[in-house]
Structures are given as C-alpha cells and as structure tokens.
Amino acid sequence: MSLSPEDISRIALLSRIELSAAELETTRDQLNGILGFIEQLQAVDTTGIEPMAHAVDVVQRLRPDLVTETDRRADFQAVAPETEAGLYLVPRVVE
C-alpha cells in the first residue's frame, strides 16, 4: 500500500507539523520507502502471539499520596517562550 498526497496531509495535520507543497512530495516518497520496508512484517504468522508492549514485565508502582515536590514554578516558567503572571501565554482559543 502506498500513501497518497491526501494521506500525507492528514498525517501531517495529526502530527501538528506544517509541510510545504515541495516537502509534501519528498516526504511522500520517503514515507512510502519506509512503509515498503516495514511491509515484510505482514508476511509473518503471529497467530496466538501476545503483543509485547515493554521490554520487562513490570507492574505500575503506587506511592503514598504525599506532597514530594517543592514549588519551582518560576524556574520552570523561565524556560517558556511566553508567560505572564505565572501563566503560559498562547493565542486566544475562546472568543
């Protein structure tokens, strides 16, 4: 199976990555090359095989519900592109 220009646009939108018209074409070629390569997985019989999501079988640890962090909001916001009064600024989403 091969990805169409429309497929690429949809994937780019889902990924929140803007692609120019020129990038769209090269991206399509490269992604189709990679998909062609991973296509060989389809030929393997995996009937009855449990998917392996992780390298080791671990169960999620629980911890007591206690405050363990100190307030470092100013430090963490110092690396943000735009803040004001302790808040992150983004374009208006609600009119």
Binding site: L35, P81, P91, V93
Partner: protein
C-alpha cells in the same frame, strides 16, 4: 601528560588520591585539549569553564578531607546532550531546544555528580537520538577522530568522538537501537547498554520509552564497570526503574573465562557483514577460545525482522513522546503564527529537523485509526518472537557474540539520502533493545582505511557483570582498546 589522557579511571583515581594531580589540573588538561581539538571534531556543543572548574575545586576539597570521596571523585566526564543538566543548555541536538537551560538534573547526572565526577561539557548527538551517523544534529555533524572524512556513528557520536580523541576520559550515552554500541564500535571504544530498567531514565529526554536506556562509554570494560556501578540503581521517578539490590559491576572482572560458553548466532555471521569486520571478529573469537571459552552456534531466526519491527515501534513511541514539544512550556516557538494549531504546526515544522519529522509522521501513521492493528500491534507480536529467540539461545550459552556494526565507519553522506539504508546500519544491535537485554561493544581490531572494528557481546537480563568480565579478560590479553588516533596525540 600523555599518560594522563590515556590513563584508566582507576589510575586517574589513584593519582588523585595520592595528590599526584588535582581535580582542577585534570579538568584543565582536558578543557585545554577540547579548546585545541574540538573545532575540528564538533564533539562538544556546550562548554562552561567556570562551572567545570568550580566542580573540580569542590572535588579537590572532598579529596583533601577524605570523607565522602569515592573512586570517581575528581575524574572528569562529559554528558551526551540528551541528559538534563541543571544550569547547562540541554539541546538534544535540536533547534527545538537550542535555548533550553535545564532547570533540573537527570538522575544519571545527579548520581555521577554525587560520586564527585566533574562535568566537562555537553556532547553533540543526532537530533533527539534519531540517527546512526550524527549527521542529523542541528549543530552539525561530529567527525570521527580516526578519519575526519568519516562519521563517528550515532546517536552518541559526540560521546564516542570525545573519548576517542582523548578530550574526555569517559562519557554518558544512551542506546535505543544501538546508539551507544555502534558509535563505540566506529570510534574504537568500549560502551555498554545495560538491561532495560537498570539505569533511571529520569531527566533523559525521551525518544522511545520502552527501548531507551542510558549507559557508560569509555576506553575499557574496567572503566565501564566503575561507571555503571555509579550510574545504575533504583529511582522512583522512573516508573520502569527496577527495584533490585545495588550491584558492584566490577566484582567478576578478574575471574578467568574457563568454561564460558559463547553463542554465535548464525544470522549474525551471514552475508551483509563486510569482510574486514568478519576477519576482526573471527580473530577475537579465536582469542576467546585461547582464553578458555568455548563457542557454540545458536540461532535467532527472527532477528532479521528486528529492524522493520523497530521502525514501527520506535517511531510510534517517538510520535507520542515528542508531542510535548508544542512551543508553549519550553522549546522553540515560531516567530509568526495565526491560531493555536497554526502555532503548534509552525513551531514544530521549524523546530524539528527532517529525520525527526519523518519519524513523527511514520509513528503517527502506524498508530492512527485503522492501521494500529496492522502495524503497531503486529510489530509488538514480532517483538515477542525476537525476545523469545534470545531466551532459547541462552539455554546453550552464557553470552552471545558477533559484530556490532556490519561495516567500519562510512563517509559523510554515504547513507543520508536513503533512510532505510541508514536504518540497516543498526541491524545487529536493535534486537537487543527490543528484548530489553544488555549489550556492549569493545574494539577488536582495525578494518578498511585503518578504521576500528567493534565486537558485540550480548548478555541475558542482568548479565552485565559477566559481559564486563568477558570484555576485561579479552582486554588484558589484547591492546586494541589502548590505541588512539595518531592525529589526536
């Protein structure tokens, strides 16, 4: 001074304890070499002499008092720029984090600093650890000190080049599909990727969380054992960190290899490996037999599927992990944009490089509605087959050996036009990550163009001490690991 740049960590530790050299002198020695040689190599991408020397002075204080000093106190090292390092720029090789000064330390950075090690700087890498040649770094490629027309490997290429050129005695690296072992092989070093979960991932910028693992890179197995002992350990801040008693990874180094059973996977010795690599690996195996080990053929029948399975699983996890880079809380934000979605899309388009975008797009696709079962779930089932092959093989051997990389270091541009060709350079290393097993590479000779060749050792879960023993005994009988590039002397 040439004895100090080639000294083992143990020798450096002894010189520091005996006050033959101070931590400040040692840091200065390496900083001066970096100043002279780094412009031609591009291994370091962040340096801060004042910070380094302040840490060295503190180490000298500790050494003077004696109490609180460890075997590593005062020894300099450098961190791959994937590790958050408080007060240092932590870029992950990306424009996205070009101006990110980390407000906290990764667990590994914290532990090595607590052991008294001195940070020389931050090391170049493939962008977000995605690459096998260091050509995807936003800060330009790292050059291989053995031949500056060739790649150092990747993604921990800066770490490998820095040690090979003796700009640092040791470095941290990370390995998702071979990113410690392949550059170690291509630059003539010893590097180890521990069992998944042995070293905390806290503060290590995530690429593919079920595969990422940090480990040491140095000149010898003995050095790696010391470093790993200081790096490993349980950390509640990483949900996959394993709760196990602390280990001394140096404990078995001096044990002889008599009776060691080495498994040689048929699939690792077929076509696809260059003749020069094969010759060096075969010679190493002959040396192991001389040391008392026996070799037995084993099979990893599904290992050929590891690269395609990896290129479903790793991009899928990357697409999810890298969604955090949205231009809101940290990282690059496009200068001009319309609404919120436009801000995300433009910031990510401009902040990420081509390979990172490719992997996010592939990952998004294989996880998207209607394709999840066909790609992601299928790859996860094949991952189990690959992991089961190893358990079968370990029924008849203690460690597995083979080549680390199918070829010696290649020229810049040789594989950058075709992503799939680049992906295949990790053909011998990727299956280990999928199975969560420890793997290491050590130098075992030279091939075409007088470039180093790496021997790979794969162990079963928690087999690090045994692997390090096997590597150390080989290094006592050979001197490949002591060689350094003529040009860097």
């Amino acid at each position: 001074m040439s004895d100090l740049i080639n000294a083992s960590l143990k020798e450096l530790g002894a010189a520091l304890t005996a006050k033959k050299v101070s931590a400040v002198e040692l840091a200065t020695l390496f900083l001066d070499r970096i100043e002279t040689l780094n412009p031609g190599l591009n291994a370091f991408i962040a340096l801060d002499r004042d910070k380094t020397l302040a840490q060295a002075r503190a180490a000298d204080e500790t050494l003077k008092v004696g109490a609180g000093a460890t075997a590593l106190t005062g020894i300099p090292l450098a961190h791959k720029d994937i590790f958050c390092t408080r007060g240092w720029r932590t870029s992950c090789g990306s424009r996205m984090l070009e101006n990110f000064i980390s407000p906290y330390d990764a667990h590994v950075v914290e532990k090595l600093a607590a052991a008294g090690m001195v940070t020389l700087g931050k090391l170049n890498m493939d962008e977000f650890a995605m690459g096998s040649s260091n050509e995807t770094s936003y800060f330009g490629p790292v050059k291989n000190p053995w031949d500056v027309a060739r790649v150092p490997g990747g993604s921990s290429g800066g770490s490998a080049a820095a040690i090979a050129a003796r700009l640092a005695p040791a470095a941290t690296g990370t390995d998702t599909g071979g990113s410690i072992r392949q550059p170690a092989a291509l630059c003539g070093l010893t590097g180890l990727k521990p069992t998944y979960g042995a070293v905390s991932r806290y503060g290590m910028i995530a690429f593919a969380s079920s595969l990422d693992q940090a480990g040491p890179m140095a000149k010898s197995a003995e050095d790696c054992a010391l470093l790993l002992t200081a790096m490993a350990g349980f950390d509640p801040r990483d949900s996959t960190s394993l709760e196990r008693p602390a280990e001394d990874y140096s404990r078995d180094l001096e044990q002889p290899l008599t009776g060691l059973r080495i498994g040689l996977p048929r699939e690792f010795f077929g076509a696809g490996m260059d003749a020069d690599v094969r010759a060096a690996v075969e010679a190493a195996l002959a040396e192991y037999r001389k040391l008392g080990a026996t070799t037995v053929e084993v099979s990893l029948p599904n290992s050929g599927l590891s690269v395609p399975a990896y290129y479903v699983i790793a991009p899928a996890e990357a697409s999810s992990n890298l969604s955090r880079f949205d231009g809101v809380r940290y990282g690059y934000r496009a200068p001009e944009y319309g609404d919120l979605n436009d801000m995300y899309s433009k910031s990510r388009a401009q902040g990420f490089g081509a390979e990172v975008k490719r992997r996010i797009l592939i990952g998004t696709y294989v996880l998207s509605h209607g394709y999840y079962d066909a790609y992601y779930l299928k790859a996860q089932k094949i991952r189990r087959l690959i992991a089961a092959d190893f358990q079968k093989a370990f029924e008849s051997c203690d460690v597995i050996m083979g080549p680390t990389s199918p070829s010696v270091a290649f020229a810049f541009g040789a594989k950058s036009a075709d992503p799939v060709q680049m992906y295949l350079s990790d053909i011998y290393t990727i299956s280990t990550n999928l199975a969560g097993l420890p793997g290491m590479s050590l130098p075992c000779g030279f091939g075409a163009g007088n470039m180093p060749v790496g021997l790979q050792i794969i162990g079963n879960w928690f087999g690090e001490a045994k692997m390090l023993q096997a590597a150390h005994q080989y290094q006592k009988a050979t001197d490949w690991h002591t060689r350094m590039p003529e040009e860097m002397k």
